[in-house]
């Protein structure tokens, strides 16, 4: 319940506030969003598996976001920023797909 409520509050806040992102943060925000989405979908899957834990969700969310950001930062410093960004996106994408497929299995029982 809290998750859905939080999502709604965040989207509404983003629409109404329309903040300017600092330029430093701009290359990392999309990665952060994808990582957070992965964490959210993982939480949804564990919720369906009846093994959801608030603490684990919070930790995994933060670690996902931070790891992805640090990876991209590292890539930028090594001069392979876009490649590493692509790599992170691919990995997170695969995880998102597998999470979605297990959620689907729980919902449609097949």
């Amino acid at each position: 319940m809290a998750a859905v409520l939080g999502l709604i509050v965040g989207v509404v806040g983003g629409i109404f506030l329309q903040p300017d992102i600092p330029i430093v943060l701009q290359p990392y925000l999309p990665i952060m969003v994808v990582a957070a989405l992965d964490a959210l979908l993982g939480a949804a899957r564990s919720f369906f598996e009846r093994s959801f834990s608030d603490k684990v969700f919070v930790i995994s969310f933060l670690s996902n976001v931070i790891t992805a950001t640090l990876l991209v930062l590292l890539g930028n410093q090594l001069g392979v920023g876009s490649q590493l960004q692509t790599a992170v996106i691919v990995v997170l994408g695969i995880r998102i797909f597998s999470n979605v497929s297990s959620i689907r299995r729980f919902i449609f029982r097949g």
Partner: protein
């Protein structure tokens, strides 16, 4: 398999029952095997971090302690935290969605280089085009200048030739001569001589009564007057001439000239008046040439 099944028994009863339920529900051999191995691995590392793609840490809920205020508060705090994180996610998502199409700031280095290349090529092209247009403009301007010059010359020509051919009215210093015959008919030859004398003295425009005198003007005798260019005139005759007034007057009144001849031979009165402004309104339509052609 047997090795795995042994520690299976040691699982907490809560988790075990749940897992059994799941297994029964799905009845999926592959799934069960996967779940079991996962569980095994997790126990081995004593942590819930699983970096494998396609898996999410499965964490068993802590065995619920005895109902206490502490646990309740912790649950509220974590749910608030979860809500906050989700809010952050939604916020970031919306911000990013609004931002993607905003500016070059989010482009990568390669894209920026490409954009720069494209822009500089476009700048070159535009510069080229500008030079071309400038050249065109210069040529058109010079052409216009030439045309203007030609127009001016043509206008001047038209003016001079218009006065010369009698197409335009003229005005200027000159003399007005009136010749009135008394008893003797003034003949055409004498009047023609008078006009010729005026011409010799530098008269630029001449009119005879209401006829403009041009190169093709003729004077013919009749019983009661003269015909000039087909117009019948009778005495007194008024001849207006534009030119140097004193020269013109001298040309007529010189001793033994046409003036004295008119007086002596024809007993006519000749009156020459110098004026600062002689206005000759009489015009002649230009002749339509039937045979003559300009040489090309």
């Amino acid at each position: 398999m047997t090795e795995h099944s042994a520690p299976h028994e040691e699982e907490s009863p809560h988790g075990n029952a749940e897992q059994h339920q799941n297994s029964q529900r799905f009845d999926d051999a592959e799934y069960r095997g996967e779940a079991r191995s996962r569980r095994d691995r997790r126990r081995r590392h004593h942590s819930s971090d699983n970096t494998d793609t396609g898996s999410f840490p499965m964490v068993r809920k802590r065995p619920s302690r005895s109902a206490s205020v502490n646990a309740k508060r912790a649950r509220i705090v974590t749910s608030v935290l979860v809500g906050l994180l989700c809010a952050l996610l939604g916020f970031g998502y919306v911000v990013q969605v609004r931002n993607t199409s905003s500016s070059y700031e989010s482009l990568s280095e390669d894209e920026l280089v490409r954009v720069l290349d494209e822009t500089s090529t476009q700048v070159d092209k535009l510069e080229q085009r500008r030079n071309e247009l400038n050249r065109q403009l210069t040529s058109i301007q010079s052409a216009a200048d030439k045309q203007k010059e030609a127009e001016k010359i043509a206008q001047q020509n038209a003016q001079t030739s218009g006065i010369l051919s009698g197409r335009l009215p003229a005005e200027g210093k000159g003399v007005t001569i009136s010749v009135s015959q008394r008893d003797k008919h003034v003949d055409a030859a004498t009047m023609f001589t008078l006009i010729e004398e005026l011409r010799n003295a530098g008269a630029e425009v001449i009119s005879f009564n209401s006829a403009r005198v041009v190169t093709s003007t003729y004077i013919k005798d009749t019983k009661n007057g003269l015909i000039v260019d087909g117009n019948q005139f009778s005495s007194p005759y008024t001849i207006k001439a534009i030119g140097n007034p004193s020269d013109l007057q001298n040309a007529i009144q010189i001793a033994g000239g046409v003036g004295s001849r008119l007086k002596v031979t024809f007993n006519a009165s000749v009156n020459v008046v110098q004026t600062d402004s002689v206005k000759i309104d009489e015009v002649r339509q230009p002749q339509q040439y039937q045979y003559a052609r300009t040489v090309e």
